[in-house]
């Protein structure tokens, strides 16, 4: 695990240059990395620049694509050199509020620290960068020196791995969505949600389905007690996706929180993700093996997923390790549709098109532009 050891080490401070949703809790913004317009602007360029990968094949924005909710659309992520990973790419939407940033490592809670993993991690290799090569490329361009000077005024040597992490984190904290039809309903617009979505919301919060027990709070990722009171800390849950051995076992390449804690009962426990944007962030689950969102609802309804074929068959409903909250429920086709309508209603579609979050390298509407293609600077690493 790479650690930059920067940011996240002082008392939080609210950003003043970004209008975060007023009905959201305070975002996690480290005191030693306050948001500034210049830093966000620099971070936006860096986020979308393929120079940040060893072979020019990846940028942050390629694997976290705006049009599909800042994910990549893959089952499991694929690194710059073509290596297939073992986990699904998490969305970056509302990452400023996320306590635990990864699927199964509770220690990774700070964007500034985490960024070195995709940038320079070797197992798995994501972008394959080294600090020396990164600095060489950025310092050798005509684009970046003035952007770094503006973002870090007074710093005599601003182009460093540390400042890259600060700027990228600043930009990523501006990736938020709090203007869904659900939000408008929450803020008093009784007409904002469709009847189907309202019925779905009632189901979502019902004692029968218990969805909100793990997907609570305004971001739909926080645990709640039976009375609906929010509980502290991220939720890690075994949802009965696998049971390959009858003892609740998961495929060995991804065993969940167990990999971090060594505790057998943590087999198959993964971070409960936010449901905001869930309708555009598929495939779903930690390993992306659910291709259809309705299938995921069906798995919860039966109290765990039944894998009937492929390399890992088994009945997750019979797992002794699954969460007691995944007990199953009955659901009609109409109720499934209502739930799906609600999940769509909690997703702020404007995030997918917001100009301030788009790549600064490509002109919107550029004819012939292939979705997400690295349009500049693809070939030469100089300007």
């Amino acid at each position: 695990m790479w650690l930059l050891l920067l940011g996240c080490h002082e008392q939080p401070s609210l950003g003043s240059v970004v209008d975060f949703p007023a009905h959201f809790p305070e975002p996690h913004i480290p005191g030693d990395n306050p948001l500034t317009a210049e830093k966000i602007a620099l971070g936006r360029y860096l986020f979308y620049d393929v120079r940040l990968s060893v072979n020019g094949q990846r940028s942050c924005g390629i694997c976290h694509e705006q049009a599909i909710g800042f994910t990549d659309g893959f089952v499991q992520a694929v690194g710059a050199t073509g290596e297939k990973h073992t986990r699904n790419t998490l969305s970056l939407v509302n990452v400023a509020w996320r306590g635990a940033l990864t699927w199964r490592d509770p220690s990774v809670t700070c964007l500034e620290d985490q960024l070195a993993t995709p940038l320079m991690g070797e197992a798995p290799l994501e972008m394959g960068m080294t600090e020396a090569l990164l600095v060489e490329r950025l310092a050798g361009s005509t684009l970046y020196p003035p952007l770094f000077d503006a973002a870090f005024p007074g710093d005599p040597d601003p182009i460093r791995l540390e400042t890259v992490g600060l700027a990228l984190s600043a930009f990523q904290r501006t990736i938020f969505g709090g203007d869904s039809s659900y939000d408008r309903y929450l803020l008093g617009d009784d007409t904002a949600m469709s009847p189907a979505a309202l019925r779905g919301m009632a189901l979502f919060s019902s004692d029968a389905l218990k969805c909100a027990r793990c997907h609570g709070g305004v971001l739909f990722e926080q645990a709640t007690d039976e009375a609906g009171v929010l509980l502290d800390g991220p939720v890690y849950a075994n949802t009965g996706l696998y049971n390959i051995d009858g003892d609740g076992g998961y495929p060995p390449e991804e065993v969940g929180l167990l990999a971090a804690t060594g505790a057998p009962e943590d087999m198959g426990r993964f971070r409960v993700p936010s449901l905001r944007g869930v309708t555009t962030s598929g495939p779903w689950t930690h390993d992306g093996t659910v291709l259809f969102l309705s299938d995921l609802l069906d798995a919860y309804a039966r109290g765990g997923r039944l894998v009937q074929s492929g390399p890992h068959p088994g009945d997750g409903a019979l797992s002794p390790l699954k969460s007691e909250l995944v007990a199953g429920f009955s659901m009609t086709d109409a109720e499934r549709d209502d739930l799906l309508a609600f999940l769509a209603a909690i997703s702020d579609a404007s995030v997918l098109e917001r100009a301030s979050l788009a790549t600064p390298f490509c002109v919107e509407g550029d004819s012939g532009l292939i979705r997400n293609a690295p349009c500049t600077p693809p070939a030469s690493f100089g300007d």
């Binding site: 094949q57 599909i68 659309g73 893959f74 089952v75 499991q76 694929v78 073509g82 297939k84 598929g282 495939p283 992306g288 093996t289 659910v290 291709l291 259809f292 299938d295 894998v307 009937q308 074929s309 492929g310 390399p311 890992h312 292939i370 979705r371 997400n372 293609a373």
Partner: protein, 180 residues
Amino acid sequence: MKYLSLLLLLGCDSDTKDSLQETDTSEVGDSGELDTEPEPEPEPEPEDLGADDAYAQAACGLRGGAPEELVLAASASEAAQQTIVADSVPRQLLMPESGDGWMVIEIPDWMAYVRVFSDDGVEYEVMGDDVEAYTECQTNGACPDEGITDQLIGFHAWGAYSVRFSEGPESLWFVAIEED
């Protein structure tokens, strides 16, 4: 998204080939009626023979090794249980006990050209609205006696594409090589 859009792309489909061959071998005489004399066994049409290039040769070279075994899923819903990339690794795909076999191939490039080589007679389809078959399913031109097919598939956008193998042999050899 591609995995939700089940627009079919023609893969190696022997029904299609058979149909074309039947049409090609029906000849009409000067009288406008079908000739009744038996026709000799037709020679393979040149267009049925794929290129003898570096990719085809690479596939021939991979034929004799010990392929990695993969158990295919039995439904579109479970296709992602078996996910690969076009990594030039030969695999022996094990079909479900009954029905079609499914997997996902991930293409992490734009405008990617992928050569798919498999056993002769295997039928497969790649699902998605960003895929296009650039060639028919042909005989590998580098080793035409090895029973290997060769098809060039273009993926216009990166993403995860479900692949369906029609019910047939219990196991099949398969390798996907992305062209440079």
